[in-house]
């Protein structure tokens, strides 16, 4: 299998994640875009691990670590989203301007 096949798939998946992060207004859906980008990165790690035949399996191990960090990130992120919903009544990042500079508005 040519190495660029999985790399191309990862690039397109990453671009779709970027699109999701930019276009969505709901914070939970923005987090889904972040998950897509993290998966694209993991795909690269695993592909290079297979290509280099790494005896330390650094690629696969780092992919496992990334999955664990993504799980921690989604747990914390959703806790923040739920807290924002309880205090503001919505979860749109564009409308969260409590810390914005009032003079500019």
């Amino acid at each position: 299998m040519p190495l660029w096949w999985p790399l191309l798939l990862a690039s397109l998946l990453f671009a779709l994640g970027v699109y999701g992060v930019l276009v969505r207004r709901n914070a939970v859906l923005v987090l889904m875009g972040v998950e897509l980008m993290l998966n694209a990165v993991n795909l690269n790690l695993v592909a290079f691990d297979a290509q280099l035949r790494d005896v330390l399996h650094a690629g696969q191990t780092l992919a496992l670590f990334t999955i664990a960090i993504a799980a921690a990130e989604i747990g914390l992120g959703l806790a923040v989203v739920l807290l924002v919903f309880r205090t503001h009544g919505h979860v749109e990042p564009a409308r969260l301007t409590s810390l914005a500079d009032r003079d500019v508005e």
Binding site: L8, V46, Q51, T61, A79, V81, L82
Partner: protein
């Protein structure tokens, strides 16, 4: 094309198609369910690339836990889960432009940079549970322990955030 190539492109088509639906569908719950298909397709590609243990961890952690968490968050924050969140062209066009730019830049770079390189899947060491466990606990044990402390900190942080009440804003 060998059967490996056929399976890979089938998985790639499923993954990319469902990922496109994740970021474009107007039904929030459907987005989370299409995310399951995307993550499952990525797990299939891991299996194809001889990363067996990573594939099962992907299924367990992502499909099992992360998507359930996302669905919980959607249900808790969005009482009407019907179709909405329909962005207008003023949002879609810049986002699509940036995403296309990212895709073209990354794809042309990796394809140009690794064009002649190939993966010898027959010679690749399968990352079975035994192999991966030995690697992690022999070579990468210190990063593994640091990661468990990070997970503990994230757990404590999530509990503290969930216990905050509205008056502390």
């Amino acid at each position: 094309m060998t059967w490996v190539g056929a399976v890979f492109w089938l998985l790639a088509a499923v993954t990319l198609g469902s990922a496109l639906l994740v970021v474009t569908t107007s039904n929030l719950v459907h987005a989370a369910l299409w995310l399951v298909v995307t993550l499952g397709g990525v797990a299939g590609v891991y299996l194809l690339l001889a990363a067996e243990f990573v594939a099962w961890v992907q299924v367990l952690v992502y499909v099992g836990a992360v998507v359930v968490l996302l669905l919980f968050a959607l249900m808790l924050t969005q009482a009407p889960t019907g179709p909405h969140d329909r962005p207008g062209p003023a949002r879609v066009l810049p986002a699509a432009g940036v995403a296309t730019l990212v895709a073209v830049l990354l794809a042309s770079t990796v394809v140009a940079g690794f064009h002649g390189v190939s993966i010898d899947l027959d010679a690749a060491v399968v990352g079975s549970a035994e192999q991966t466990g030995e690697t992690i606990f022999r070579r990468w044990v210190l990063p593994f322990e640091v990661l468990s402390v990070l997970l503990l900190a994230a757990l404590v942080g999530a509990i503290v955030l969930s216990r905050l009440r509205g008056e502390e804003r």
